[in-house]
Symmetry: C2
Subunit: 266 residues, 2 copies
């Protein structure tokens, strides 16, 4: 195992709180010369914001080693719909990330080719109405992810699926692209960033449906951490059975050493 693709929410931190031992585990991987990339379905922040958040928890990460669904959405737009104008329904972080990658933002909803939806923790009715009007005027719909909830500071919290369905139910339109995990677009950019083949990597996350499923589909080995909303029993019963189940990210270096010892013996 040379490269590690590590999820953030529920794996490295929960809300604003780092998960115990996570920072140390990541530092140990770095010290041993292994490559680490952070891969998150969060679309309402930019890599710059994410790097600052990790730094505040004592985790040292370069912006280029952070891949968010906002990052991948921006790349996808540039690659497949160059010159098209985007209206966003989501927090400022998404617009920052789009701007940092020179995606064109529409000046008003009616002028947009795309509505890009992400989690919007500062949502207002006015913004919901502007997104509605963008789609009524012909904007197509893309979402950074389609998660229903995420572990917030004070409990499970409503996620981007709320904003998506508010718009699709009232306009009759459908979402054409969902960028986040388990989409192959996320795996591609993570492996490209690591510059390693899938078989040399391990993906670590707390979600069977997004992290483990992504690994299975992309041929990357998988480790589930139990610091999210999935229990060991659910994991063992799932059709996306992970290769490893860890109590938390703190156990990752131990697994890596054991695996190495096993290989040496072979």
């Amino acid at each position: 195992m040379k490269g590690f693709i590590i999820d953030l929410d529920g794996t490295v931190y929960r809300g604003s709180q780092a998960i115990e031992g996570a920072a140390e585990a990541i530092a140990e991987l770095n010290r041993s010369g292994r490559r680490v990339v952070f891969l998150s379905n969060r679309g309402n922040m930019s890599r710059a914001m994410c790097r600052r958040k990790l730094a505040g928890m004592g985790i040292d990460a370069a912006e280029r080693d952070i891949v968010l669904s906002s990052t991948v959405a921006a790349m996808f737009l540039i690659r497949h719909y160059p010159g098209q104008k985007v209206w966003t329904l989501g927090d400022q972080g998404l617009r920052d990330e789009l701007a940092s990658m020179r995606v064109m933002l529409a000046s008003r909803p009616e002028a947009a080719d795309w509505l890009l939806i992400t989690l919007h923790e500062t949502l207002t009715y006015k913004e919901l109405n502007q997104a509605f009007r963008a789609v009524r005027h012909g904007a197509r719909i893309m979402a950074t992810n389609a998660d229903k909830s995420f572990p917030g500071d004070d409990g499970e919290s409503i996620d981007v699926a709320a904003m998506i369905h508010a718009i699709t139910a009232t306009t009759g339109a459908s979402v054409e692209h969902v960028i986040g995990k388990p989409s192959a677009l996320m795996a591609e950019l993570a492996l490209e960033t690591l510059d390693l083949p899938a078989e040399d990597c391990l993906i670590v996350g707390d979600s069977l449906e997004s992290d483990i499923r992504l690994g299975k589909q992309a041929g990357i080995r998988t480790a589930l951490v139990l610091t999210g909303s999935v229990s060991r029993r659910e994991a063992e019963a799932s059709s996306f059975k992970p290769d490893y189940i860890l109590d938390s990210l703190a156990d990752l270096p131990k697994i890596v050493s054991q695996e190495e010892a096993r290989r040496m013996k072979e």
Copy 2:
């Protein structure tokens, strides 16, 4: 025709603007001794607020002659679920209406038996999340109406269906009761308020799906006004074909006189 059931949005006013001739038409009906009740799917205002809005347009209406979906929701809760506690996702007007009819409001989302959803023009993420948590903790879902859009001051605007689907899509729960037109609950309270049999009444509104359909189902004659989003051609092609089509509410007294003259001749 002794009693008139008149819709508000798109029929009497659009946004904060009265429709031309509406106030005069209503005054004429009143002068001729006919009974008028206003019947609206609006659930984010109380009757007190609605009476003030109408008064500001020169339309004199008693609170008891106004029936909103918030009014009917409150009566429905009292009658069928007495003592049960309600959490709301919607503007303050809904809570005012519930309080005026002594419906018990839950002190926190987790304590609610019902989540009652209506249009929320002052929506925040926090309130969306509280509604989500109410349902995750077992609250059942009721909605004042399920309209997708309404004619706002500056154009067609996103309506309560957005708030409903934000919650149902993220919780997996379903809406058990939709109170507004074309539900029979609305027709019942309107006729009860008029104290007249259905065959002596006319319902006037701008929506085929809610006003005209309600009339057809309740055995009330129907008049469509073209001041909403429906054209004459759409009305004539619809399976809910109205008995009368009026350019606007201003033409109502003329229709009433013609109808009277025709009856006198018979």
